[in-house]
Symmetry: C2
Subunit: 238 residues, 2 copies
DNA sequence: TCGCTACTTTGTGCTGGCTCAAATTCAGAT
DNA sequence: ATCTGAATTTGAGCCAGCACAAAGTAGCGA
């Protein structure tokens, strides 16, 4: 699919990679050039970790292509997925929230292309580049809001509503139109969905089967297409 | 208890109110004076809201004394408590995360004294006062971490563990030593605890009764004292 | 002192979603 | 074509914690 090799700085990344992304959109071509020249580009295949919870936060990242799942792992080995991050967003921005270590693990949900910079450049980015800091904090605000919503959901909703909400959120954030409806744009298993909604893969499987019978979704292995979003919204609200 | 009247700017707030608080600790006396002169001081009695979810974020706050509960209310009227904030912390800092409205409601858990400033001063504080922004973002980082932990807890732990965790967190953040052990420093009902742990007041009541029989806690109405924190830690880990 | 209200305790029955178990299907590798 | 491991489906039984119900108790105001 792609011959870019891991751990290699690509020769002359093109400015257009960053110009349309919010944290950089207010910058001059010249600044973007400087930023790119300081960046390391790397391709990660599906299902590997970009950084690990608790590790020293020595780099920060921009996801150029692909999807990343932010997960936490409990002492007993269970995984809980906190967020999904689509291409175009920063991640691993521990410094922005005053941390020296990464608060969670970032795993690729698909093959992904990631730029990264040493964390010592963080303060430079914040002070030198107009709009960088503002946009970064908006991102953080959105992620806080999302986590907040999940707490409320888990505290008040039934499993079926939570799973419906999770699927809706995923098609909002990463949905891709196809002939039958809107598809979640990366491979996602029943297990993944259960880690996102605090339930078991068995229950998720039963729910998806039931929804498929009622014509709300279609699903193949690792793929989910929502054919009737409206009905799913109704389920998500009880 | 206190004759300070609501809605009134106190004459000459003393600098010592702020000097030891992290966001202001690196500042000169002169800066603190300026900051205080711009502040409005207000006393709120127990159980009232300081600001409401969704309202325009026109002021930000410093809790000088008391405790505040940050709650969200679902469409069906259930409350979910997201955080408890002890004296000495900023709150309502929507601007810091790029929001124009407050993301949740802040209710006083005790009588409280709060300073506030118009949000238009936010950018001034960030740019003019050394350490203000850093400390603010640490606070945000801590709150994110706490919310994250709650998501993981709710996803993986049994009710008894969650309630134990919540009680432990409360005594860590707001605990006060007394003759029998460590007491949660503000009035908290079974209902409040259930909103914090996504369960019912009935279940919380049963758990506390059981723990009291085993000598781990003592509780009167609205008051909880932990007499054996270690045993509670063991419960919280399953 | 009395009464009202808010808070707390305790009992009983029920059920949503979990655990345990096993069969089936699919995709990629050889 | 066949094999293998991962993903999915489906069944059956069970139980933690909820809903419902009712009684008890502490604090506060008049």
């Amino acid at each position: 699919m792609n011959e870019v090799s891991p751990r290699k700085t690509l020769p002359r990344l093109d400015e257009s990679l960053l110009t349309h992304l919010p944290p950089f959109s207010r910058l001059e071509r010249r600044d973007i050039r400087t930023i790119l020249d300081q960046a390391t580009s790397r391709r990660h295949e599906e299902g590997v970790s970009i950084f690990d919870e608790g590790a020293a936060a020595d780099r920060f990242f921009m996801l150029l292509d692909g999807y990343v799942r932010v997960v936490r792992i409990t002492p007993t080995g269970e995984q809980v997925t906190a967020l999904h991050i689509p291409a175009g967003q920063l991640l691993g921005i521990a410094k922005a929230i005053g941390r020296e270590t990464y608060p969670a693990t970032a795993m690729t949900a698909t093959e992904s292309i990631v730029l990264s910079w040493p964390m010592r450049l963080w303060d430079t980015f914040v002070s030198d580049y107009d709009g960088f800091s503002t946009e970064t904090y908006k991102t953080i605000g959105n992620r806080m809001g999302e986590m907040n919503n999940r707490v409320v959901e888990m505290a008040t909703q039934q499993v079926e509503q939570r799973v419906a909400n999770a699927v809706l959120r995923l098609i909002n954030q990463t949905g891709r139109k196809n002939s039958d409806g809107i598809e979640i744009d990366f491979p996602i298993t029943r297990q993944d969905l259960s880690e996102l909604t605090a339930t078991t893969l068995h229950t998720v499987s039963r729910l998806l089967s039931a929804w498929e019978k009622r014509g709300l979704v279609q699903s193949k292995r690792k793929r989910i297409t929502v054919t009737n979003p409206h009905a799913l919204v109704e389920i998500s609200q009880g």
